[in-house]
Subunit: 121 residues, 2 copies
């Protein structure tokens, strides 16, 4: 079983966290059967945290976990916090193959999508 | 003259702010002549601020300014901070027509783009 964890920053505003939750559900539509499940996780202000999400994956029998950082820029969360949390969790679950993808903001499509947003107003 | 202001949160990490700067340049490629210029602005940690960017627009003779929030979720920055800063600035430049677009994270395309990132690894 291969589980995708969508990691967002997390907010004090519950609605923002629910947006991430609903986004993780929408993503399944575009899944080409590679992932059995998409679950959200948060760095701050909301749960599950990354270690909690990875523990959940292990408990439900995942062999592979893919961590996708939903962040716009390669700040300290991308360069330090997420790798650190993933490393800690992998020590607790040595049988789990855990991979971290590029962060969302690194996508080339963003410039075009931003201009589309501007043109639509 | 119509100027597009790409508003990002801003970071203590200069590289993150430079990413926004280079993104604002890339966006011009997808412009259908509606905007004469795309400039970045930041809520925190970097300049120009929104009021500074709007002042620049007025100084170089813009009649219209479009503010595009480069944020993933509709948190307090989208709901309070950006509208407040834009309102303050519009009082100082009553001849400028200023419009705020939807925030980037509201785009429907994001779920698909995230799944693409996950599948590419």
């Amino acid at each position: 079983m291969n589980i995708l964890i969508l990691v967002a920053h997390g907010s004090r505003r519950e609605e923002s966290n629910l947006e991430v939750d609903s986004l993780s559900k929408k993503m399944l539509k575009f899944n080409s059967n590679q992932f059995d499940k998409v679950i959200p996780a948060f760095l701050e202000f909301a749960s599950p945290s990354i270690p909690e999400a990875i523990e959940m994956c292990s408990k439900i029998g995942a062999q592979r976990v893919t961590v996708l950082p939903y962040f716009l820029s390669a700040g300290v969360h991308i360069n330090r916090d997420i790798p650190e949390e993933v490393n800690k969790a992998s020590q607790n679950f040595p049988n789990l193959e855990i991979k971290v993808t590029s962060y969302f903001g690194s996508r080339d499509e963003i410039a075009e999508l931003l201009m589309k947003t501007a043109l639509e107003g």
